[in-house]
């Protein structure tokens, strides 16, 4: 029961840290600190990824033969921690390298792998994942994007939604319906596609939080070759499960202000009787948030311990998002309410740079993205506790005949 690295881990950490210090300095000298969502930022990100790949620090657990580091999961975690401390980290590659490219590696031929894996590892090409649709949110397999065979090609029409990074991605993996006459899970097929094809159109989604980080993606007679198929025709769901299983290992980043920030806010705010921080009701909430945050932090440590011991962590990590997303909403709301009428302000005069107001508007999305509270609780109940799944009325019905209401 301690937090120290094993000697091997410590050695790896030391090596990684040394490399990072030098590499980060060189990287900054070359690229500066460009603003997010600019071409310069993307260029810097790609350069950093290439630099890591050259040193064996990109895709650490992948074989060196495909450009990876040939290392262990715990090494990957350690490098991630040190990279965070070094202050250079870009999010553009997470979905591609975490979910899409592993799927390509698992389900394509040698040529395709050769064509795509190494460029992705080096950051030369970015991938996105095209699964969610308006008609199938929690129920991914209810998707309607149709792929119809035409000789050696497939012709694709339909729409995806909530696609992260569609507008800057070069390629995507696309789950389609190829047979609506069989039950829904059996009529799906996966393809990789070129996102630059003119038949692919990205439109940003205007979120309730005001931002536009996600996309709708439309396909109008998009033509792909049968060789772009990943897995067998009708086996798309099995392929998608592999993709989604890899999602679990992607580590969720920090989600906004936590107990520390709200403690600081309350210390400065006048309450009825001394600073707001002296209110016992607020203090109890603060204690609860701290305990939950520590709980999540140490649960991650337990996951790392499992990795360190060579075990595979289970779906237990689902607890993280349920807690953190709900807590963010509660914490942000408490911080805003504590300000009284002033709490409505979101401009330059807002307290704490309007961080709490922004979190308040973002939290509802966080509670939905990557699985609603309800879906995550189902996962815990079914996969961790072994309780039965819901009664499924859609298992044996041809997709075409399923009620949809719209």
């Amino acid at each position: 029961m301690d937090f120290n690295d094993s000697p091997t881990e410590a050695a790896y950490r030391e090596k990684a840290r040394a490399w990072l210090v030098e590499a980060a300095a060189a990287h900054r000298a070359e690229h500066g600190e460009p603003k997010p969502n600019t071409p310069e930022h993307m260029a810097a990100a790609k350069a950093w990824q290439a630099r890591k790949a050259a040193a064996g620090y990109a895709c650490i657990t992948w074989p060196a033969a495909v450009g990876g580091g040939g290392g262990t999961p715990i090494e990957s975690v350690i490098f991630g921690q040190e990279e965070g401390k070094a202050g250079v980290a870009y999010g553009y590659f997470t979905i591609g390298l975490g979910m899409c490219v592993p799927t390509v590696m698992a389900f394509s031929d040698t040529d395709t792998k050769k064509r795509f894996v190494s460029p992705a590892v080096k950051g030369e090409e970015i991938w996105c994942q095209l699964f969610s649709e308006p008609a199938g949110g929690s129920d991914v397999a209810a998707l309607r994007t149709r792929a119809v065979r035409d000789g050696e090609d497939w012709v694709i029409n339909g729409q995806k939604v909530w696609t992260t990074g569609a507008h800057y991605s070069d390629f995507g993996i696309l789950l389609t319906r190829t047979d609506p006459d069989v039950p829904k899970h059996k009529g799906l097929t996966m393809f990789w596609i070129d996102m630059r094809d003119p038949a692919v159109e990205c439109r940003p989604i205007h979120q309730m939080s005001g931002g536009r980080e996600f996309n709708e993606v439309y396909f109008s007679d998009l033509r792909v070759k049968d060789s772009q198929r990943l897995g067998e025709v009708g086996q798309g769901w099995q392929v998608a499960l592999v993709t989604l299983m890899n999602e679990r290992l992607a580590v969720g980043g920090s989600a906004g202000p936590n107990y520390r920030e709200v403690l600081e806010l309350a210390r400065a705010l006048p309450g009825e009787d001394g600073p707001a921080l002296s209110n016992d009701a607020f203090r109890e909430k603060l204690a609860d948030w701290f305990v939950a945050s520590q709980g999540l932090k140490f649960t991650r440590f337990r996951t790392m311990t499992a990795l360190s011991r060579g075990q595979t962590p289970g779906p237990e990590s689902s607890i993280g998002k349920i807690i953190s997303a709900n807590q963010l909403q509660d914490l942000a709301n408490t911080a805003v309410e504590m300000q009284g009428e002033y709490g409505v302000l979101t401009g330059p005069e807002a307290a704490a740079g309007a961080a709490f107001q922004q979190s308040l508007m973002w939290a509802p999305g966080l509670r939905i993205a990557g699985g609603t509270d309800e879906i995550l609780k189902n996962i815990i109940a079914e996969r961790v506790l072994g309780l039965p799944g819901d009664v499924r009325v859609d298992k044996d019905v041809p997709f075409r005949d399923m009620p949809t209401g719209r």
Binding site: A135, N333, Y342, L345
Partner: protein, 371 residues
């Protein structure tokens, strides 16, 4: 026992709903939301004035309809349901009610007819910064009838004609009526969580100020004004919460997942049942508040606090969980969920946070139980 709207009041409420259904659909709310230059919907305001709602509770001699407060509650419930983007609360629940309760005959004669006619928008200027304003921290000052100081934020401060301002005079806190269109007033519109309701920074530099109510009673008067406003705001919150439940229910009945409507899953059903329970608790407390307000009962402070606490909780819960029931769609700008989510925050913040009202409620209970 007659603890509900009367038939006449129900008729008024139904008519109000129809009226707002036509004049204040979501497109009108979005007109204000999406246009930073638009601080409220002026045509709706004019139409509401024409309906006589602004003077619903103002005596006939001052140009109002002379109805009771329960009628005003019925209107408030419908305005909340429609997320109406107009300064109704500041003008009617606060300015008109305050002047009727605490104004001199002359002040009533000067202000009430103009409110009833839709010529005057009001505002309440108390806050000077984040957190609770205590008497010792009050910095706005009146000397020789001239007000100086900064109030931030002031809801509807940029569009109001008259503000009730809390300021100290001779070291004592008082309330003052200030003509915001006169000299010595600078107004700046500020960005807000709920852009469908306007907020501003008001900077006073020698603005003419006339006292409302007794000298030194400023903080007590603010509380008395907020007690009345809290009941009416509770009805707005209740109307909003009801609409959130309806929207969530409609969506849950139309959206399919795994081959059946999501409204058939227990997790969704129980979430909606939880909303229903909170809304009914809010409704019952609001009705009690309406009675206390209408009868000017000594129970008003307790009843107002209970109404506000229950309604704030119900609207917050319903607005945030309605987003969740709508899933990804609920998080988009295009779907109306966020109009209610934003308004639920605005309404909870505008007259003191639920935490302050809980403290006020328990203080009242302590007194009552000690007696």
């Amino acid at each position: 026992m007659d603890f509900d709207y009367s038939d006449d009041q129900k008729f008024l409420k139904d008519e109000a709903r129809k009226f707002l259904g036509g004049r204040c659909p979501p497109a009108v709310v979005r007109g204000v939301l999406d246009d930073p230059a638009k601080r409220y919907d002026a045509p709706l305001w004019a139409a509401v004035a024409e309906q006589g709602w602004l003077g619903a509770a103002i005596p006939e001699k001052h140009g109002g309809l002379g109805l009771g407060r329960v009628e005003l509650c019925a209107i408030a419930e419908e305005l909340g349901r429609a997320v109406a983007p107009i300064p109704f609360a500041s003008t009617v629940y606060i300015l008109a009610e305050a002047v009727m309760a605490h104004g001199t005959t002359a002040q009533q004669a000067a202000i009430l007819p103009r409110v009833a006619a839709g010529e005057l928008i009001g505002a309440l200027a108390v806050s000077e910064g984040p957190g609770v304003l205590t008497p010792s921290a009050l910095s706005a000052r009146v000397e020789g009838g001239k007000l100086s100081g900064v109030k931030i934020p002031v809801t509807d401060g940029d569009i109001a004609h008259v503000a009730i301002v809390l300021a100290s005079e001779g070291g004592k806190p008082g309330l003052f009526l200030v003509d915001l269109t006169g000299e010595g007033v600078k107004r700046e519109t500020l960005e807000s969580l709920d852009p469908t309701r306007s907020v501003a920074r008001l900077t006073f530099d020698g603005a003419a100020a006339e006292r409302l109510g007794g000298a030194g009673e400023g903080f007590d008067l603010v509380q008395a004004i907020l007690d009345r406003a809290a009941v009416l705001l509770a009805f707005e919150q209740l109307g909003g919460a009801d609409r959130c439940l309806e929207m969530a229910k409609e969506y849950a009945l139309g959206r399919y997942a795994f081959g059946r409507v999501i409204g058939g899953y227990q997790a969704i059903k129980h979430k909606l049942a939880d909303m229903y329970v909170k809304n009914e608790v809010a409704r019952s407390n609001a009705y009690y508040g309406a009675w206390a307000l209408n009868d000017d009962a000594s129970e008003l402070p307790t009843a107002a606090a209970a109404a506000r606490i229950a309604a704030s909780e119900a609207f917050w819960f319903a607005s945030k969980e309605s987003v969740q029931v709508h899933g990804g769609m609920g998080f988009t700008w295009e779907v109306d969920c966020h109009l209610y989510y934003r308004r639920s925050r605005q309404l909870s913040l505008v007259a003191g946070s639920p935490r302050l009202w809980k403290e006020r409620l328990v203080s009242e209970l302590e007194k009552k139980n000690a007696a």
